[in-house]
Point group: C2
Chain length 491, copies 2
């Protein structure tokens, strides 16, 4: 399977594209920029969804559903917002097709033109705040803690599977609060939820921080983010949580009566992660033999492959496998038994290796005699022969071990790839040669930020939360600076 597979060092971008295709995760569709998420890829996304949904509910949120379409005029109501999203959206102008008069097929019916065009939602702040207006009268109606799982469309010219697609799947939380403090607390809480999910489930270490004003979400007063580092030394923004102030409440005139009977505008947050996380997951752990999945998100944590000749051996092995499978499943471990007779064990080994199944168990006639199995782990490629007794406990520990090992490896990698730069030459050398995160002083001006971006393609990924205050000089302008910020080239 790993034959005809580009290595990371040869061409990281090509390696990624081939991996997504060969591991059956996703493919480009016939509709430009839109992807098909294949069953195996979707199963990983479902694991992500299930865990995130649990965490959202544990923090008091409920799911709801809002329309796919947004009236064009809504986008215009928040000035920054329309600036950020109007340039890349799918516009519905008609609501009917009709048979072409020349019989050549169907054509748009000009009589079915909409009075006001509808935009396929690129994000739902506007339609949701227009709805919240009807839900909120008094402080008793607050907070509103709602999340939506949905598809959104942003018309991208250059697309890459999972990382940047015209249509993608995501969740968007939209909350409404009586006070600024409570809204900020919510924004920070959801950032923590994202960070915990990234680290404990994706085994992907993240930096928590805030964006500079120029990188904020269109319409936000503050954008919090988690930033991860990919194997090629480029950063990837993995999730954002926005403090929206009263911008959307003002745009849609959403006020509430306080306990004291005054009328005040409502405070808002929004926060989201998307199928982009699939790209982050792939680029954090996978290797030149294919996908590597952390056990906490693997659709199958264990695959069992029988090694046999003939029906009788297979049936003996299958009987034993039945017992082993039940024991593993009783521990909550997901197990696939691949007893297809259309493929040889070697083919299956290669397939599951490429698909990143964390643990492979092989069992043949000798194992039956000896009461053993062969256990191989995907992350380190180590194999060992284990007694069948107490196997479920051993596998359970092995899965934990793999999860921890992947995380630690990623932490070590990030450590190694995080550099301080104190001069402009150092900065450029790191960005261009060493790659990774650069911690450097910045004078706080948008102008400097923009010039650094133009000269090196590096952007400020974030100002880390609880950043140490430290007097210094801007790595680019030499002006006074009070803190270091994190730069990198990014996806």
């Amino acid at each position: 399977m790993a034959k005809d597979f580009t290595t990371r060092s040869e061409d990281y971008s090509q390696w990624y594209n081939e991996l997504v295709a060969k591991a059956d995760l996703a493919e480009h569709s016939a509709v430009r920029g839109c992807m098909v998420i294949k069953p195996y890829g979707y199963a990983i996304w479902e694991k992500m969804q299930a865990q995130l949904d649990k965490m959202f509910k544990a923090t008091g949120h409920s799911n709801a559903y809002f329309p796919l379409f947004i009236p064009k005029s809504y986008l215009s109501k928040e000035a920054d917002h329309v600036e950020g999203f109007a340039k890349e959206c799918a516009v519905v102008t008609h609501y009917r097709l009709k048979n072409a008069e020349d019989g050549s097929g169907v054509v748009v019916d000009p009589d079915a033109k909409l009075e006001e065009e509808l935009i396929v939602r690129p994000t739902s702040e506007t339609i949701i705040w227009n709805t919240y207006k009807g839900w909120i009268q008094s402080y008793r109606d607050l907070p509103i803690l709602v999340n939506q799982w949905a598809n959104v469309v942003r018309w991208e010219m250059r697309t890459r599977l999972f990382l940047r697609t015209a249509e993608f799947l995501w969740q968007e939380g939209h909350t409404a609060h009586a006070t600024k403090e409570e809204a900020i607390k919510e924004t920070e809480q959801m950032l923590d939820v994202y960070a915990e999910f990234a680290e404990k489930f994706m085994a992907m270490p993240v930096l928590k921080g805030v964006k500079t004003p120029s990188e904020r979400f269109a319409g936000a007063l503050e954008t919090y983010c988690i930033e991860a580092l990919m194997q090629d030394g480029k950063a990837l923004q993995a999730g954002t949580s926005h403090f929206l102030g009263q911008n959307f409440a003002k745009a849609f005139d959403v006020k509430f009566a306080t306990r004291e009977g005054k009328q005040e505008y409502v405070w808002a947050t929004s926060w989201g992660v998307s199928t982009r996380l699939m790209g982050a997951l792939i680029m954090t752990h996978s290797d030149d033999d294919g996908l590597v999945l952390p056990p906490n998100l693997a659709p199958h944590q264990v695959v069992i492959v029988p090694i046999y000749k003939g029906e009788e051996q297979l049936s003996q092995i299958s009987e034993k496998v039945g017992v082993i499978k039940s024991e593993l499943e009783a521990k909550g471990i997901s197990v696939k038994y691949d007893n297809r007779d259309t493929h040889k064990p070697g083919f299956k080994f290669a397939e599951y290796e490429f698909k990143g199944v964390p643990v492979r168990i092989a069992i043949g006639p000798r194992d039956l005699e000896n009461g053993t199995v062969e256990v191989a782990r995907r992350d380190t490629k180590e194999k060992e022969v284990l007694q069948q007794s107490d196997l479920a406990n051993k596998v359970e520990h092995l899965l934990e071990n793999i999860q921890n090992n992947l995380f630690q490896k990623a932490v070590d990698f990030r450590e190694e790839k995080t550099h301080k730069a104190d001069t402009w030459d150092e900065f450029k050398d790191i960005i261009n040669n060493k790659t990774g995160f650069v911690s450097a002083h910045w004078d706080g001006s948008e102008e400097t930020e923009e010039k650094i971006k133009q000269e090196t393609k590096a952007t400020i990924r974030c100002i880390p939360l609880n950043n140490k205050k430290e007097a210094g000089k801007c790595v680019y302008s030499g002006n006074q600076s009070t803190q270091r910020v994190i730069f990198a080239k990014a996806y």
Copy 2:
């Protein structure tokens, strides 16, 4: 709460609309025909989704995701299909907005016109079969058993929340098979899954049958359906499963190499249920006091309301409730403890009654002294005082009892509302006055079917599966007939 609430006998349609609004299930959005599904309504839909998803996976299906947009030309590839769907669809013609030159807002950028218009999917057969073409080469690639949870858009002129909306949520299964027999078996299997879900979870009895040719899905050779009867005597199609033959394989040129090396077209099925089931659920069980939910789909199966004066009593009651709640939850029962101090117990009672929570437990200071609680069931309105000891077992049985009672009540209602008609006068009398299902002979001609529809608004809901063959005369034309079919007015 039930004040200002129309009764079913006054105006069934108005009763439905008010119930959906007052029970916080859904509301109309600012976008014509599109609904907002509110958190409480969405929580019920999530319960439906979770159960259906489990049943789909238990029958070997995986989820995947396909594009929201369908190129216009794809719709035309299957002749019946385009005829069925082109008349009611949202058409994307542009991919960018720009600032209006007069500063009045944003307008569609005429330079950003798509070469080929994109249709927001009304259903996904075409885009999926175009994709399957790349997935299927040989019999080894079959069957493909895929389901998609998605939003779809069908431009409806007259909409009703859940029952008929321009955008709705659904699942659509799309499977590919090597043989006709296997595809038909799949179609029938999924109909059984739907029927089991409807009866065991929604507590809604359904007739299983096939549609007449004129009522088939656009592009299907056979449409299987489950039909339910609502309280106003109208039928509701609750789910369909289509045997598509080789129509889509031919339209998209999807062939496979058989075991013998021949090239053959692939056989297809598709099957779906939607948020329409929410409407069916509401109209099967609810009453003049609001929503009635079967325990198997209730977001909260039990609500506990404290009756207290002052902080101290509340804290004593809350301590006891903590114990009761844990015991119930240990049995897998979902429990909400409503200790809000902003609302009186009477208000809460009315609210949960209206929202259909199956079991309400009230607990006050006297209950603390006596070791009792008051338990009220929503379906029959019966109340009883129960000892706290062994309460979890009692509540568990009560929930089962409610589930069974709701189903039996619906079965009895359907029984009562199913009539045989042997003359045209009888037929009209039933349709116009008695309402419900009419079992009558039909000569099998589309012409007769159409005339009956024109004269009475009744349609053939289905030809029941395993229908008894019985010679007779068509209730309308008097022509020979071999079986009775089921007529009704329908949603």
